[in-house]
Structure formats: structure tokens, C-alpha cells
């Protein structure tokens, strides 16, 4: 028990905790939108395409997250543009950008002389190396996102639900689509620090599946997803520390466990009534 309390005194753990909290907030909100729009696959494409940016940034000696953000935003816009204007099948343009991004990343890493330090961190997340600068960026983005949700919830909801009707009713549908695509891209890239490219989507989908067991309204799914994500990631983080296992994987296990238990309880309750 004293171990447990001591843990919260370490600054590296406090940072990790803050990062998990903020990332969960971002992923809870954005993930609810992604799941509602059925664009989980798009988000997978964006996530993996960002690896190209990370590799390229390494090769050029730039901050890797700048490269990731650039690739993520460009591929989000590329998918949106490719399907809207060029009438490419959406799943095809996603698959192309997904694999192209990974390929660019692999080639760049291969060509970078010497040892590429944090590659595993980018793939699987490295929450224990979060520094105060990361936290400030996460906090700023959380605030922007919260403000955005409060102000633009309705037009974004209407556009996601029925974009043709939204256009007829006078909403700037194209602008909204591109803005939300960019928002999703930035949110995913920021979450990569905690969860890593391979694991990040879980934080954007599993809490939402849990919330969806109880609610059928986006607003409700958003706040409950945030709660579940926060709870799951803190629990996962503590478990990771004590069992000495990677935090990203531990968080996924916790989230899945929460989902499974909730689903069971709900089924039993339904069965009884």
C-alpha cells in the first residue's frame, strides 16, 4: 500500500498520470465522433500514415511529432479530398495512404545512419518518458477541443449525421468536414505519445463501445467515454508499473476488461428483467 502511495510522488509517474488523463479526455471525445461516423478505418489509416512523418523527421533531424502531425493531417485531408472530389473508393484511398506512410517510414528509418532511439516508443507508446512540454501541448489541445465541442457540437453533429441535408440547410459542410478531419488527425498524433501507433486506436474505440452499451446519443457517449477512458488508463498505468509490463498494452487490457465486465452485467440485468 505504501508502495502504491509512494508511486504518486514520483514526478515521472505524475507526468504519466497527467498525460493519461489528458489523452483519455481527447480520445474519449474524438473517438465518440469517429465511431459515430463509422470512420475507425480512416483513423487507422491516418495513424499508420503518420509513421512516414516520424521516419522522415528522424532522417532530416526534425522533431518526430512535427513529422507525424504533418503526415497525419495531410493524409486525413487526402482521404477526404480523394473520396469527395476524385470519387476514389474510400477504403482504397485509406489503404493506399496507410501502407504508403508505413513504407516511407521504414525506408527513412533504414536510411538514417546510426541507431534510431525511440522507434519502439512510437510503435507501442512510451508514457513514462512524457515531459512537461508534452503535457503543456496536451493541455492546450484539450482546451481547444473542449471549446470546439461546446461551440460547434451541433453543426458537427448535423454534418456527420446527414451531410446533404446539412448542406441544404446552409451549413458550411465542406469546411466542417475538413476541420473535423484535421481535429481527428491532431488528436490521434498527440495520443501516439501515450499509446503508440499500433495501440492508439483502442483508446478511441473501446471506451466508446462501453459507453454505447448505455447510451444512444453522441453527447452522452462522449462524456461516458471520457470517464471510462480516464478510469481505464489510470488503472492500466498503475497495473503496468506494478507488473512491470508495457503501459500501452496494459491500458488496452484494462479497457477491454471494463468493456467485457460491463457487457456481462448488462446482459445479466436484461436477462433478469
Amino acid at each position: 500500500m505504501t508502495d502504491f502511495i509512494d508511486l504518486f510522488h514520483y514526478s515521472f509517474f505524475q507526468n504519466a498520470l497527467m498525460a493519461a488523463l489528458l489523452t483519455s479526455l481527447i480520445a474519449g471525445i474524438v473517438g465518440a465522433y469517429i465511431v459515430a461516423r463509422r470512420s475507425v478505418f480512416i483513423s487507422g489509416g491516418i495513424t499508420h500514415a503518420s509513421f512516414g512523418g516520424i521516419g522522415l523527421a528522424y532522417y532530416l533531424g526534425w522533431p518526430p511529432f512535427l513529422g507525424a502531425a504533418a503526415f497525419a493531417i495531410l493524409s486525413a485531408l487526402g482521404i477526404e479530398w480523394g473520396t469527395q472530389r476524385m470519387k476514389i473508393r474510400e477504403d482504397s484511398s485509406i489503404a493506399i495512404l496507410w501502407s504508403l506512410g508505413m513504407a516511407i517510414g521504414i525506408i527513412a528509418v533504414f536510411m538514417t545512419p546510426g541507431y534510431t532511439p525511440n522507434l519502439m516508443g512510437f510503435l507501442f507508446g512510451d508514457i513514462l518518458t512524457v515531459n512537461p512540454a508534452d503535457l503543456i501541448i496536451l493541455a492546450i489541445w484539450s482546451l481547444i477541443l473542449l471549446a470546439g465541442v461546446i461551440v460547434f457540437y451541433r453543426p458537427v453533429l448535423y454534418t456527420a449525421f446527414d451531410s446533404e441535408f446539412a448542406q441544404v440547410s446552409g451549413l458550411p459542410v465542406k469546411f466542417i468536414r475538413y476541420m473535423t478531419a484535421i481535429t481527428v488527425a491532431i488528436s490521434i498524433v498527440l495520443a501516439i505519445k501515450v499509446m503508440g501507433i499500433i495501440l492508439v486506436l483502442s483508446l478511441f474505440t473501446i471506451p466508446q463501445a462501453t459507453a454505447n452499451l448505455f447510451y444512444k446519443d453522441l453527447r452522452d457517449i462522449m462524456w461516458l467515454s471520457v470517464l471510462v477512458a480516464v478510469g481505464g488508463s489510470i488503472l492500466g498505468l498503475v497495473t503496468a508499473y506494478f507488473l512491470d509490463i508495457p503501459s500501452g498494452a496494459s491500458i488496452i487490457f484494462t479497457l477491454t476488461l471494463i468493456y467485457a465486465i460491463t457487457k456481462c452485467i448488462k446482459t445479466i440485468l436484461l436477462f433478469k428483467s
Binding site: F161, E164, F165, V168, G170, K216, D217
Partner: protein, 249 residues
């Protein structure tokens, strides 16, 4: 005669691979109630999309007398994601478009209006239901509320009677007749026998458009318009029975 609130002139329209509408001309006046009929794939929905600005024509002109014309739209049931997490009230409020400042709380007057519309269309008490929990007919009613909540000057309806039971269909046409005193209505339907007693004029769309400035139609007329649809009729709604038939669509 007053000026048309919407003018379509020499419209050629369609999709990349296919020209659907040829040389279409149509004037919509402020108190019109136009019934649009035609076979499946004839281009009715395409025509509506051109009117709504959702599809730019290859050539021709779409002119609104007042560029700020408020349009209400009820789409043909198809593209909407029925699993989408949105409730009935939000769907209806989405009809307000950009009229409101989004960050302001909803004024009670607007909420009252939404509830009144729900009552009018038999949806009382359903405001909190998810759209996916509704029956097809209930969903159509929600979309009707969404189409009219903004007091449009032009109401465009693409087969609003799909899934709707005969009881509500009667109410629906009654509601539309009343709305028609305040707005122009363009209504697509396959149920010609029924709509011909409610609409004022008829447009047959089958690649091109034949406008018939009265609501009396006969099968012979449709043939001469090259509009291969048959007049069908059933139910208790007043109608002109010309031919019975029951396996349309």
C-alpha cells in the same frame, strides 16, 4: 402572374458516367404544389438535387428569385445511417440550419415549436429516442418535422409516404395542404392515384420533364408524355381510381 420563386432552364444533369436529365425546364411559383412522378431511375431525385444545389447541372440555369430562399427537404430514405447516435429532437432541430448561433442555449420558443411539430405528426414523447429505435414510418415523420421546422418557402419532399401507414398518410396530405398556403411544395411520389387529388399540377420525369398544369391525369396522357408509370390507387383516401394495381416498386 407573379414571378417564379425558382426557375430551371435548359437543365442537362447527371453523373460522371451518365446523363440523366435532358433539357429540363420548370418554373416553381410561391403557392405551387407540384407532384413529380416517373419510373424508377427516371431522374426524379436527380431533379430535386439540382433544385437543392446538391448537384451542379452540366449546363442550364437554376435561378432563385430570392437567393436567400429557405428550403425544406425530406430526402428519399436511403443514405441515412440508422445506427447513428442522435436523438429525435436533435434531428428535428437540425432543420434549423445555420439560423441559430450554435453556442447559445436553445430558446424555449424553438423547443416549443419542435414539440408542437412532434405532436402534430404523432411523435409525442419520443424526443429522447435514438433515431435507430424508430420504425420506418416514425422516421419519415421525424424527417418531415425536420423539413418544416425552419418555415421554408419551398418544401421539397422525396417520397415522404414511404413506410408511412395509410392513417398517417391521410394526415400527411392534410398537413401538406395546410402548409401549401404558406409555401410552395414539390413532392415526388409513386402513388399517383393518391397524390393527384392533393397536388395542383404534375411533372412527369423520365429523362426529360413534361409539365401538366392540372392534377387530372390519365394513363393515355402519361403514355403521350413517355412517362411509363401506371396510375394506382388504394386505401381510404379520396382519389380518382383509374386502374387498380398492387405491385408497384
Amino acid at each position: 402572374m407573379s414571378q417564379a420563386i425558382l426557375k430551371l432552364e435548359n437543365i442537362e444533369a447527371g453523373y460522371e458516367r451518365q446523363r440523366v436529365l435532358h433539357n429540363v425546364n420548370l418554373d416553381v411559383f410561391a403557392n405551387d404544389f407540384i407532384g413529380v412522378i416517373g419510373p424508377n431511375g427516371g431522374g426524379k431525385t436527380t431533379l430535386l438535387k439540382v433544385m437543392l444545389g446538391l448537384l451542379s447541372p452540366f449546363s442550364g440555369k437554376v435561378t432563385f428569385l430570392d437567393p436567400k430562399t429557405v428550403i425544406g427537404y425530406l430526402p428519399q430514405v436511403n443514405s441515412i445511417d440508422k445506427q447513428f447516435p442522435i436523438n429525435v429532437l436533435d434531428v428535428i432541430l437540425s432543420g434549423l440550419g445555420k439560423r441559430r448561433k450554435w453556442w447559445h442555449p436553445l430558446p424555449t420558443s424553438i423547443l416549443k415549436k419542435a414539440y408542437a411539430l412532434m405532436e402534430l405528426s404523432g411523435l409525442s414523447g419520443m424526443h429522447n429516442k435514438a433515431i435507430g429505435e424508430l420504425s420506418g414510418g416514425q422516421m419519415q415523420r421525424v424527417f418531415l418535422c425536420r423539413a418544416i421546422i425552419n418555415d421554408p418557402q419551398l418544401l421539397i419532399l422525396d417520397e415522404p409516404n414511404t413506410f408511412v401507414d395509410k392513417n398517417f398518410e391521410e394526415d400527411l396530405y392534410q398537413i401538406l395542404s395546410e402548409l401549401n398556403e404558406r409555401m410552395a411544395i414539390v413532392l415526388v411520389s409513386h402513388d399517383i392515384g393518391t397524390i393527384s387529388s392533393f397536388v395542383k399540377t404534375i411533372a412527369c420525369v423520365n429523362g426529360n420533364l413534361h409539365y401538366h398544369p392540372a392534377n387530372k391525369i390519365t394513363n393515355e396522357m402519361l403514355k403521350s408524355y413517355n412517362c411509363p408509370v401506371e396510375i394506382i390507387s388504394h386505401g381510404t383516401i379520396p382519389h380518382r381510381v383509374l386502374k387498380n394495381h398492387n405491385n408497384h416498386d
